[in-house]
């Protein structure tokens, strides 16, 4: 065991911080604010990362990566999350859509889809949830009926982040067989969002723009070569993808940064001497430490070539609850002025905590609710009978 980063890794972090300091404009507050500059910025920023080889650094060299160690990748992730994720939606490409294509895709699919991701040139959205299939993803009803040259898709997806960004491609979970029950009949299609019959409707959300959309598919033709893996393999692909994703989000790094800013705020306002504030911030720091190390544990397993399915879910439990705690306690520490949004000049920390708080409402819901995470741990991690 070793709880230190290597010199090389520390140097990489320093470089990244310098890069972020020079690249992030002062107005940058992340993707989920109403600022027309955000989306173009995030695309340009991703291209710059790609130029430095930092966008898909963990991927194989063959596909535009640098085969960087999981730890360098973790450092990259931490720095990005600590700075409001300037890669925007592209973190999904690197973390799980790309890796799923790497693992399950044909040679032709890899050649077609991976280079644009590695170049920071493409936005993807995921099409999993439906009005009738949220936690119960196996109930997906969107139909992909085999046609002569591929599939015809009909159905509706919902809660699709960034579909309106606009996303150019969709990682779609659809039913290719109605005969096979539940998850057995599902497949993943890679759908060009510019195909006729695809209609994206944004859903206005508390958590900010881009968070929620609906996607309607009406007789959307998807060529056969856009089926990922085999027909019926959708559940396996999505499960693997969600595991990648759980490790792929460094919420703790964001929380850690917010804690630092709260400590500064407490120092500046005299609250550092308030015992309740001290104790609450210390408690957050301890939770942060636990969340960070549990992520590191999952990454250590990855680094050793193992799949940290349960460990990733446990890390996610800690990370999501940490984020909620940080935002609740942070607002409490700001007090009255915590209500002010970034647009109010009197907002402390430029409205950071308010922004953070609205973002933590979906935190324990999207990409698998807290309850679903716990069911996974109970069944796969503890061998308990399926919760009914």
């Amino acid at each position: 065991m070793n709880f230190a980063f290597s010199e090389d890794e520390q140097k990489f972090r320093t470089e990244l911080r310098a890069f972020l300091a020079s690249e992030l404009p002062s107005w940058w507050r992340g993707m989920f604010v109403d600022d027309p500059r955000a989306m173009p910025f995030t695309r340009a920023f991703s291209r710059k990362l790609a130029e430095r080889g930092w966008l898909t650094m963990a991927w194989p060299k063959e596909w535009g990566g640098a085969e960087a160690s999981p730890w360098k990748q973790a450092i990259l992730r931490e720095e990005m999350w600590a700075h409001d994720e300037p890669r925007g939606p592209q973190y999904m490409n690197l973390n799980y859509i790309g890796p799923c294509i790497l693992r399950f895709g044909s040679e032709a699919q890899k050649r077609r889809f991976l280079p644009p991701m590695a170049a920071g040139d493409v936005l993807w959205t995921q099409g999993f949830s439906e009005p009738g299939a949220g936690s119960d993803l196996a109930a997906v009803a969107t139909r992909a009926e085999p046609s002569t040259d591929g599939f015809v898709v009909n159905g509706q997806k919902i809660w699709n982040s960034y579909a309106d960004a606009p996303a150019e491609w969709c990682f779609l979970l659809a039913r290719t067989s109605v005969a096979a029950k539940r998850h057995h009949g599902l497949s993943v299609l890679l759908v060009d969002m510019r195909t006729a019959g695809v209609d994206v409707r944004p859903i206005d959300s508390m958590a900010g723009p881009h968070e929620l959309n609906e996607i309607f598919f009406e007789d959307v033709a998807v060529p056969r070569d856009c089926l990922l893996g085999e027909a019926g393999q959708g559940w396996e692909i999505v499960t693997a993808g969600l595991t990648f994703e759980r490790v792929g989000i460094a919420r703790y790094a964001r929380a850690g940064r917010v804690i630092e800013l709260l400590v500064e705020h407490a120092g500046a306002t005299g609250l550092a001497g308030d015992s309740e504030v001290r104790s609450k911030l210390a408690r957050l720091r301890v939770q942060y430490e636990a969340a960070r190390l549990l992520n590191y544990r999952a990454i250590s397993l990855q680094a050793a070539g193992r799949v940290p399915a349960v460990e990733a879910s446990i890390a996610r439990l800690h990370n999501t609850q940490l984020e909620q705690q940080v935002s609740d306690v942070g607002l409490e520490i700001l007090g009255l002025a915590g209500q002010l949004t970034a647009d109010d000049p009197a907002a402390p920390l430029t409205g950071l905590l308010h922004r953070q708080w609205v973002r933590t409402i979906p935190t324990t819901i999207t990409a698998g609710t807290l309850e679903v995470q716990k069911n996974i741990i109970a069944e796969r991690g503890l061998g308990l009978p399926r919760a009914r």
Partner: protein
């Protein structure tokens, strides 16, 4: 000891629920927010005609007390009724009635009771962490200068009761020259304003040192009652969703993880409500109320936070879409939690009252 509503209270509550359900549906609440307005003055006059505004003013025929104010506020919270009920009825009417001079009472109370005169209160100043921070504004030559923040409904109020150093309370006409009112950009749905006073004419209303803290107690209790009502509605929405929404072939409310969240909400709302009733009763009865008020606040502010997390967890993604009503409650409740927090203040009050040095 008797925690049941009296027959008269039951009628008050039931008629309020009926009227608010009919006249102030959530669509109307949304429309006011979209229009950038705090409340519907016409409807305010209407409920004033029913006696809701002069409720506690014997001079205006009111024969109710703070407990009844809390019962009405609870119904208003259920409906998210946008109105200056807390500053005007729970705080303003009481300050004027208990501390104003004869002339002030004659000048303001009849118009207040008919809904003509909407009153707000200006408490916090820049840098304040809570509403209880002692006010620092000073009067010089009968004139007021300085800033107040987080003043509810200020743009639509007629009279502003301003907490000043002492502590004391002075009144300023909303239209007085030298008073500038700027809207905050805040998360709650009801408008809050920053007020800048530049040598604004004011008149003293209350100089007794207990006037301001007691007015704050009353405002806190009425707000907590409003929150209890809002929580109740959020619970109803959550239960309705849990019964209707199906996953894995059955209603999600049949999963213990969801069902028990609803139960925890039920348990928190009930506890909040009995604590609020006790605090209101103690204040109304002139009994020692410090522990009762602080307990209700300490419990309530934390309960609101738990309840909101539960409600969103039960609802899933639909809960944070703007077209669904939960967000209206979430934003107002969170704003009230921050507005009256932090809970640690009240734990410290309770600790002192328990005899911990």
């Amino acid at each position: 000891m008797d925690l049941n509503l009296s027959a008269e209270q039951t009628i008050l509550v039931e008629s309020a629920r009926e009227l608010l359900g009919r006249r102030s549906p959530l669509a109307a609440v949304r429309a006011l927010e979209a229009a950038g307005r705090g409340f519907d003055r016409e409807l305010w006059r209407e409920v004033a005609r029913l006696g809701w505004v002069g409720l506690t003013l014997p001079s205006e025929g009111g024969h109710f007390d703070l407990l009844d104010v809390a019962l009405l506020a609870d119904e208003m919270g259920r409906a998210l009724f946008p109105s200056p009920f807390v500053p005007t009825v729970a705080m303003g009417a009481w300050l004027i009635d208990a501390f104003g001079d004869e002339e002030q009472r004659r000048r303001w109370l009849p118009r207040l009771a008919t809904g003509e005169l909407a009153v707000t209160v200006a408490l916090a100043e820049p840098g304040a962490r809570s509403l209880w921070d002692p006010p620092g504004l000073a009067i010089a030559g009968g004139r007021l200068s300085g800033r107040k923040l987080f003043v509810p409904f200020a743009a639509e109020a007629d009279l502003v009761l301003v907490a000043v150093a002492g502590p004391a309370v002075v009144a300023v006409e909303r239209e007085a020259s030298g008073l500038v009112c700027t809207r905050h950009d805040a998360l709650g749905g009801e408008p809050l304003y920053a007020l800048a006073f530049e040598s604004v004419s004011c008149e003293p209303v209350a100089a007794h040192p207990t006037a301001l803290p007691r007015a704050l107690d009353r405002g806190a209790v009425a707000t907590l009652a409003y929150l209890a009502g809002a929580c109740e509605r959020v619970l109803e929405m959550s239960v309705a969703h849990a019964r209707m929404r199906e996953q894995f072939g059955r209603p999600i409310g049949s999963f213990q993880a969801i069902a028990h969240r609803c139960v925890d909400m039920r348990s928190d709302v009930d506890a909040l409500r009995v604590l609020v009733h006790q605090a209101a009763w103690c204040l109304a009865a002139g009994e020692a109320a410090d522990v009762a008020v602080a307990s209700a606040l300490a419990y309530g502010l934390e309960a609101v936070r738990r309840i909101l997390r539960h409600a969103h967890q039960v609802h899933g993604a639909i809960g944070f879409s703007m077209e669904y009503d939960l967000q209206l409650f979430t934003r107002r409740m969170k704003a009230a939690e921050l507005g009256w927090g932090p809970a640690a203040l009240y734990h410290e009050c309770v600790a002192r009252a328990m005899g911990l040095g």
